[in-house]
């Protein structure tokens, strides 16, 4: 039989129950952050030097110092939808890619916890992912077409021939190309991508972009591709030789 409780004991019991409920609810809510991580709903392109995804989420202190130093403002911080990845930096390459305008890897230098590993100091050492020709049938080079006009109406890029130090809007830099080679032309890494002939016929203008091992996955090609959606995209975190 249940013991008779005094009103005071009843109140204490209610308080204890309410506290347990509030505490459990708080912990449960925080653990819901696991869902996006487990489902990899947020497959994100991370800034240069990011550790492997799990270690990256663990070590990032969510302060955004990397955001602040980026001259092209490529780095954004994730919202609550990323669960445990809230406040963690990512790059939406199509909207604004990292084009290494900073000349080094400023975001890596800014990172206080080493979530962007301090082991790299040159853009060539970066491995964010790999570029892949996603929609070959719409690639202008493969169609043998040129490109005239403004490639994108958004995004910043440093055109060394225009201004050595400051990135300008891609919209302010129109092109007039006999054969579209924007992904190769604007790639900040040497020998990362090239245009190769599609047949042995010298009269055949068509060329196909080929990604090489030097590709760091910065996403510059994805940003500059004038076809919408982009013909070339970045596979986040993909490593050369990986299926």
């Amino acid at each position: 039989m249940a013991k008779q409780l005094t009103p005071r004991q009843q109140k204490e019991r209610r308080t204890l129950l309410l506290s347990a409920l509030a505490g459990s609810a708080t912990v449960a809510l925080s653990l819901m952050g696991y869902i996006p991580v487990l489902k990899t709903l947020a497959a994100r392109l991370r800034p240069p030097g990011a550790l492997a995804e799990k270690a990256f989420l663990a070590s990032c202190i969510k302060c955004g110092q990397c955001v602040q130093v980026c001259p092209v403002e490529a780095i954004k911080l994730a919202d609550a939808g990323d669960g445990f990845g809230i406040g963690v930096p990512y790059i939406d390459a199509r909207a604004q890619a990292c084009d290494f305008s900073c000349d080094a890897v400023q975001c890596v230098l800014a990172c206080p916890t080493g979530a962007l590993t301090h082991e790299i100091d040159k853009k060539e050492q970066v491995r964010m992912g790999l570029a892949r020709l996603d929609r070959p049938d719409v690639c202008l080079a493969r169609l043998g077409q040129g490109f005239k006009g403004v490639a994108r109406d958004i995004g910043l890029h440093r055109y060394v021939e225009v201004d050595r130090w400051n990135p300008i809007g891609i919209a302010d830099h129109p092109y007039d190309l006999e054969l579209c080679d924007l992904c190769v032309r604007e790639c900040p890494i040497e020998n990362a991508i090239s245009l190769e002939p599609m047949s042995d016929d010298p009269a055949d203008k068509r060329r196909t972009p080929v990604v090489h091992e030097a590709c760091v996955g910065c996403g510059m090609c994805e940003m500059i591709c004038p076809v919408d959606p982009a013909a070339i995209v970045i596979d986040e975190r993909k490593v050369w030789g990986q299926a």
């Binding site: 309410l18 969510k62 911080l77 919202d79 206080p112």
Partner: protein, 323 residues
């Protein structure tokens, strides 16, 4: 020493203990218990309540401090002046590394290694807030504390009109959650707490722009207005507890209670975020004639403002009275 340990236990949720009086304190208590003195005190309290004056001499400094600290982050980013780069979780103050102690703790537990930059940040910030003492981070820097104060004002207005009622929780919840979140970070390898930390969310929202996460902050504030007064700061926040532990160890700044000046009418306990630290102001409770208010105190100064007889004051060890 006994009182210090007791104040630590109190921060972790224990009920305040009765300690043995010193001789001077016993004399004071006996004196106050004399019938004549009782009468005098009752009259004095009546007089005081009839001419109640509210002072905000510390609040203006405190609010300015919270606003300036958080606005500096915003200005640094938006105008690129590189004064305080980053957010409240970690930053560089004119180039020097700073790291929020709790955010750093979560990262270290999850990552299981630590970089020298982070060590510098932790030591710097730890030392600064140790100097200020107690949980002064909470009431002098935390942006959530400020919005929660506004929510509390609404709560108190509504409670006054009997529209809402506070449902206090068990204060031991905070240390339980502190341990739970530390263990979760270590076991899962993710900074689980950061997912719901309104401090990180608010700080980043101010600097980089808000998002969905602000809904959680709004929910917390609604809980605090309608159901549980100061729900987050009082019962949940592991950040506050982390700073409380650091600030408890013999910090030079504290609020000092003078038994002699006290009428024991309890105005201070009504405004306090952590009224258990003011248990000493109840009649017959102070074990000494001068007592440093305990570890859980956020040094907000509201009790000092509320006290009409100057029984509570800021004190810096080795220096004279601070106002």
């Amino acid at each position: 020493m006994r009182y210090w340990l007791d104040s630590l236990r109190m921060m972790l949720g224990a009920e305040p203990q009765r300690l043995d009086y010193t001789e001077a304190a016993k004399a004071q208590h006996d004196f106050k218990a004399e019938p004549e003195q009782r009468k005098l005190r009752v009259a004095a309290i009546r007089e005081e309540l009839a001419h109640k004056q509210t002072s905000y001499k510390w609040r203006k400094w405190r609010w300015s401090s919270i606003i300036i600290i958080n606005v500096l982050f915003v200005i640094s980013y938006w105008f690129d002046v590189q004064l305080v780069e980053g957010a409240l979780t970690a930053s560089r103050f004119i180039g020097f590394h700073m790291a929020d102690l709790n955010a750093a703790l979560q990262v270290v537990l999850a990552q299981k290694e630590i970089l020298i930059n982070l060590v510098i940040g932790i030591v710097t910030v730890g030392f600064l807030w140790w100097l200020a003492g107690g949980r002064s981070f909470c009431s002098w820097a935390c942006p959530y504390h400020l919005v929660a104060e506004f929510a509390e004002m609404i709560h108190l207005k509504l409670a006054d009109k009997k529209i809402v009622e506070d449902h206090p929780l068990d204060r031991r919840l905070r240390i339980v959650l502190w341990i739970v979140f530390a263990v979760l970070a270590f076991v899962t390898g993710y900074t689980v707490f950061e997912t719901i930390s309104p401090v990180g969310i608010l700080s980043r929202a101010l600097i980089y722009g808000g998002g969905l996460a602000l809904i959680w902050v709004a929910v917390l504030l609604l809980i605090e207005i309608f159901y549980i007064r100061r729900f987050w700061c009082r019962y949940i926040c592991p950040i506050g507890l982390t700073y409380g532990i650091v600030g408890s160890a013999g910090s030079p700044v504290h609020v000092e209670y003078l038994l002699e000046n006290c009428l024991h009418e309890g105005e201070c306990r009504k405004v306090c975020l952590v009224p258990h630290v003011l248990e000493i102001t109840k009649k017959g409770r102070a074990h000494d004639v001068k007592v440093a208010v305990g570890a859980d105190c956020t040094r907000c100064g509201m009790c000092i403002e509320a006290c009409p007889t100057g029984a509570l004051n800021f004190k810096i060890k080795g220096l004279g009275d601070l106002l």
